[in-house]
Symmetry: C2
Subunit: 328 residues, 2 copies
């Protein structure tokens, strides 16, 4: 019931995930949680659905996008969101995926699943396009008041995520700061620098705002306030360019042609920044697999979220995080 | 002696500023400070320089880009940078302009000129392109550990700057945060919200990372850590797009043509983000006019920095800030 067009997009995404023979993806079954009648109506619209791999669990309530997250999780026990996380907690599901209220997914996952041993705060890591692949940035908004110790934990979790899911061996880690020299920046950053320097991570030191897109390092660590603002800033870049290019388009046929070509070329660049393509992001650090998607997710994004969840389970990312924390 | 190609670019920029009959700009004279022989050699390369409007003051030392700012300002009293700020302090100049070591320009300006009454911390405001003009963001790096009170002062100064220099009447002000609702974000933001809400400013509430380029408000206020990272992130966007577009260009002649056209169209968008075009940024809140430029400034950027300084003086921005603070 999570997307803005729920349950239609969510169901279509699930059906497409089942029929998509993605290379490397294991076998999986899906449980759809929400208004049973509405979900069945949507399922009936699709041909050849393998019902042996898809089941429906009824939930009578829904957490809305504008519900206050922690309160909604406490009071709406019959919501699809809380029911879904409970199914995962109870072992009936190996992972949970939702494009619903982000704060509520975080709150429910953290409260119900609990945290991994050694992790004080879960984090959200998001990918940014870089000249040489992707830069993985965390935290992009799971936390507000971040402590130096949290930054160290984010770095451990995101390094494992970058290695297991993106295939970057022993990924380089940078601490986002206002200058490269040790001792730069606010007190939190100075203290986090020391923790990272003394760790087993491939820590290369401070990096600056420009290093994210340059791809100077594979993993960039920052507090959730800064990270959230950068993520939303980055997401608004394509819109500005489209609007500016549109503005110039009034000057004649040739200019229009030129702009059409420019937009076509840009589209392939922006695709790498598009959450519809890469699906959701995992909430790293909870004792389970919880994938968070945009409310605006299309069926394609839902499908990609499901594959992300399957990959997180198959590659045992949480076990790898545990090993990295204990230095195994 | 500030630019990477000093004094050649600096002198060329000064000469071009004198001969540029910019609309609305007042009459001004220039004092070039630095290695006298080197400056005279550069001046001699230009034709028809009006020497009644340009003079040279010798300074035997230079603060380098990698000098530790505060220490360099204290120990290098004969540097062009310190001499220049002293000339302004003593009234021999109405403004100071430098493309040298940014930290040293800030330190020298703050220590030597002092702060405006009612201002505890100076700020740097920078412009970002938006769909409907520019968004002015402060602080973009003058401060590291920012207090709520500082954020309020940044908002007052940047509102005046946006009104006087950009012509935005009673500009809307937003507080950069991770959500729009009051009470969102870290403690600093929550407290700053209250100060701004109770002020005479045209405060509209919290804004998010995406609102900078959308142009939701004219003035966006944030701590110097976050602002500096966003500024540098934004400056790296054109580089990423060029690199991505370049990567696609290996697929044939037609594709190359298409990409050339795309780059041409993008160029006019990126021009609005280019410091070479708008010159430097003022250090708002010091008792004087101090314009800070990139080390990579071309003659054109130097020229535009001079015009920015002239405009700041002519429009008496500091008097307007004083009035805004006192509620006059």
């Amino acid at each position: 019931m999570g997307t803005d067009n729920a349950p239609a997009e969510d169901v279509r995404g699930a059906v497409e995930a089942l029929s998509d023979g993605r290379r490397g993806a294991g076998q999986f079954e899906l449980i759809l949680i929400g208004d049973q009648a509405a979900i069945e109506r949507e399922l009936a619209k699709h041909q050849g659905v393998d019902r042996s791999r898809i089941s429906v669990v009824h939930a009578s309530d829904v957490i809305a996008m504008d519900d206050e997250p922690a309160q909604a999780v406490r009071s709406k026990r019959e919501s699809s969101l809380v029911r879904g996380v409970m199914l995962h907690k109870d072992g009936a599901a190996d992972a949970f995926v939702s494009a619903g209220n982000t704060g509520a997914v975080m709150a429910a996952s953290t409260f119900i699943l609990g945290r991994l041993p050694g992790i004080s705060r879960p984090t959200i890591a998001s990918q940014f396009p870089a000249a040489n692949g992707f830069t993985i940035v965390a935290d992009v908004g799971a936390n507000v008041d971040t402590k130096p110790k949290n930054l160290y934990e984010f770095a451990v979790m995101t390094s494992v995520y970058a290695e297991e899911i993106f295939g970057y061996r022993n990924p380089t880690v940078g601490l986002l700061n206002v200058g490269e020299e040790e001792g730069k920046g606010e007190e939190r950053a100075v203290q986090a620098y020391e923790l990272l320097k003394g760790s087993r991570l491939n820590f290369v030191g401070n990096v600056e705002g420009r290093d994210i897109l340059k791809g100077t390092v594979r993993v960039v660590i920052c507090d959730g306030f800064t990270g959230n603002i950068i993520l939303k800033f980055a997401e608004s870049v394509p819109g500005l360019l489209r609007s500016k290019l549109g503005g110039y388009a009034e000057t004649g046929l040739l200019a229009k042609l030129r702009l059409g070509l420019a937009k076509g070329a840009l589209k392939s660049v922006f695709r790498e920044m598009d959450y519809q393509e890469y699906g959701g992001v995992p909430l790293l650090g909870v004792n389970g697999v919880s994938i968070i998607g945009h409310g605006g997710s299309s069926a394609k994004a839902v499908k990609n979220m499901i594959f992300k969840a399957e990959e997180m389970v198959r590659k045992e990312v949480n076990s790898r995080i545990g090993e990295a924390l204990s230095g195994a």
